[in-house]
């Protein structure tokens, strides 16, 4: 069964090295999401796997077979593109059939597969239409269908939902996830949308500037970000990061936030290696872990009392942004509180539990 491996991959465009010594392993049946800001090399990596972009150095294997120099059609892959890339002069049926062009199947088998995919994606009534006569969501289904008919073990998705509106995106997200659960094929999925990554992936590789910053399960990436970049990239609003100085007092490890003077007890934090006295660190706090108002009492927590910059209500929950002196701190609040905090001179008492901190080295910006 296919397991995809990238070994020491290098990609250069002219004199620019986009990817350098990249290693990655995708296990069989996994839903891997390559996540990162635009220009981080995630699409390049996917295109190299597909065979559409040449590898400068390194090796790509699928199921133990070296495919680095194979033609795209010989790699046993199917791909769904961002702009759907449907053939404009062919009908939906023609598009699905052309997906099988390289496989030289008997007619009956071809029809069987086309019908199977059409039923699965509920595009049977559209079969005689041209792509121009379809809506965005329908085109997306056809594009997925064209990949499905190939009956391959590995599917590649290149930002497939970014051209859809918010409602359709949610629908298609669930549908793709459902397909993965049903078919149990390996999927490599590129996106810059962290919601897609968190909801669909079985593992996420977060990339920045051609380097994989962290590779792990969605929970792992969210709860234990490997470095500052990941911490700031995942979450909406992202993790609050404040600069602090470590003070070791007996068995206790304290970190003091310079701007507000609040000291945080890091004793419960699971250090990989303990910082020295006086070390500069960044302390990370997820907005939803803060306790507010009456919830504060009786808990071991670092408490702040900060002026509110502004409060917003994007949906069921509200967010408040507080002025901590240097960085602003985002806090998840009850949406009923938003109105009260929008007035001038509002301030908010918040407390952060001692066991939920993330701590990063100020120099290397990695988790310690």
């Amino acid at each position: 069964m296919p397991e995809i491996r990238f070994k020491d991959i290098v990609k250069q465009y002219g004199y620019v090295t986009v990817l350098e010594d990249l290693n990655l392993k995708v296990s069989d049946g996994e839903f891997l999401v390559l996540l990162g800001p635009s220009g981080c090399g995630k699409t390049t990596l996917l295109n190299m796997l597909a065979g559409l972009v040449e590898v400068t150095a390194g090796e790509i294997t699928i199921g133990g077979k070296d495919v680095t120099d194979l033609d795209p059609k010989d790699r046993g892959l199917a791909m769904v593109f961002q702009s759907y890339a449907l053939y404009p002069t062919k009908t939906v049926e023609g598009n699905l059939k052309f997906g099988l062009a390289a496989q030289k199947l008997p007619k009956a088998e071809m029809m069987k597969r086309v019908n199977w995919a059409a039923d699965l994606l509920q595009i049977q009534p559209l079969m005689k239409r041209k792509p121009a006569e379809l809506s965005g969501g329908q085109r997306q289904r056809v594009a997925i269908g064209r990949a499905l008919v190939k009956n391959v073990e590995v599917f590649l998705f290149d930002e497939p939902l970014s051209n859809l509106d918010a409602k359709l995106r949610t629908e298609m997200r669930l549908e793709i996830k459902k397909l993965h659960n049903e078919l149990q094929k390996t999927i490599v999925y590129v996106t810059h949308d962290q919601v897609e990554a968190m909801t669909m992936a079985t593992s996420i590789a977060i990339m920045n500037q051609g380097v994989i910053q962290q590779f792990g399960s969605p929970d792992d990436v969210y709860e234990n970000p490997a470095n500052l970049f990941v911490a700031k990239f995942i979450g909406a609003p992202p993790m609050n990061i404040i600069a602090a100085t470590v003070a070791i007092k007996g068995k206790k490890i304290l970190a003091t936030h310079a701007a507000s003077g609040v000291s945080m007890d890091l004793s419960k934090y699971d250090f990989a290696h303990k910082p020295a006295d006086g070390a500069k660190v960044y302390v990370g706090m997820r907005p939803e872990h803060f306790a507010i108002g009456s919830d504060i009492a009786g808990k071991e927590a670092a408490s702040f009392d900060l002026p509110v910059l502004y409060a917003e209500k994007p949906g069921s929950d509200g967010n408040a942004y507080l002025n901590s002196g240097d960085e602003q701190i985002a806090v998840r609040i009850d949406s009923a509180m938003v109105k009260d905090l929008q007035g001038a001179n509002a301030s908010l008492k918040i407390a952060f539990p001692h066991d939920k901190f993330s701590v990063f080295d100020a120099q290397t910006e990695s988790r310690i």
């Binding site: 597909a50 059609k73 062919k90 062009a101």
Partner: protein
């Protein structure tokens, strides 16, 4: 009241807004009218003359309408005028021109579309240099390579046949047409070709099933260019056709220039019109697509 149907809305009449005619637009109008007249006046003279009797023509007065309308000139031009020793009218040249036209369309459009497709959509070594060479070729005047080409066609044993004329036309128009096709295909979204590469990967299948069906507009543009170019050509036909394969233009020139005895203007004019007609018909039939094709290349949806 909010859900009133659009068709039930009361129709109010608003007077059209009056526009003042500006001085600059008058000048533009005069300029355009002069250009149009420069073409239309001679064209008018040619048409009326072709329908006149020889008697009326000898009176001069070229702007008069024919007193008696006659097709005599047209008949003679089509089937009786002499070119050299043969007197079969421009008819013979018409069929030779058709025989030349069809293979030269096939050669030039076939070669140019495939080469343009390869250059635009496939990763080919030296594609840039090849394009540069094509670019140079497109601007080498035919007269420069005329004599070597005559020798080559003679060596191939096709000199003096319509094949020689057709092949020379096809080959000479290939560089320019390739550039046109290449620029058109460059605008096809790369994702579409990537999808086709993953689905099929076959050079010919992608061309035949995906790319060619998308090239309708540009093929019509090229067809019009080739048909008018080949049909109106005189020099290549004269040089490579010998006596056996004289296209219509050559026959026309022979009858008009070397006619013996009294000049029969009505026959000459009719012959000229007959020769000029086919590309005009093609242009009127396909002109709508021609405009579409040009803009389709510029802004692609």
């Amino acid at each position: 009241m909010a859900n009133i149907d659009i068709s039930e809305r009361e129709f109010k009449h608003y007077p059209p807004k009056k526009k003042k005619i500006k001085g600059s637009s008058i000048i533009t109008f005069i300029f355009l009218a002069m250009i149009a007249l420069a073409v239309l006046v001679p064209l008018y003279v040619i048409i009326v003359t072709s329908f006149k009797t020889l008697d009326q023509i000898t009176l001069g007065r070229i702007f008069d309408l024919p007193t008696t309308w006659t097709f005599e000139g047209w008949n003679k031009a089509w089937s009786e005028v002499c070119s050299g020793m043969t007197c079969n009218g421009v008819k013979a040249g018409f069929f030779t021109s058709i025989k030349i036209l069809i293979p030269s369309i096939a050669i030039s459009v076939g070669l140019a579309s495939i080469t343009g497709y390869a250059l635009a959509l496939w990763k080919i070594k030296w594609a840039g240099s090849f394009l540069f060479v094509l670019f140079i070729c497109a601007f080498v005047p035919f007269q420069v390579i005329m004599i070597p080409l005559v020798l080559i066609t003679a060596k191939l044993g096709i000199y003096g046949t319509f094949w020689a004329v057709a092949i020379v036309h096809g080959v000479l128009s290939m560089p320019f047409l390739t550039l046109i096709f290449r620029n058109f295909y460059k605008d096809i979204p790369p994702e579409l070709i990537n999808a086709a590469l993953m689905d099929s990967g076959s050079f010919w299948r992608i061309f035949g099933e995906i790319v060619l069906p998308m090239s309708g507009n540009i093929i019509i543009v090229v067809l019009i260019l080739v048909i008018t170019g080949v049909w109106n050509d005189f020099l290549i036909g004269l040089t490579f056709g010998g006596f056996g394969a004289q296209p219509m233009t050559v026959i026309l020139a022979n009858t008009v220039i070397t006619g013996t005895g009294a000049v029969r203007y009505n026959v000459d004019m009719a012959a000229a019109l007959l020769t000029a007609l086919p590309p005009l018909i093609v242009y009127f039939a396909l002109g709508k697509f021609f405009v579409q094709g040009i803009s389709a290349g510029a802004i692609k949806g």
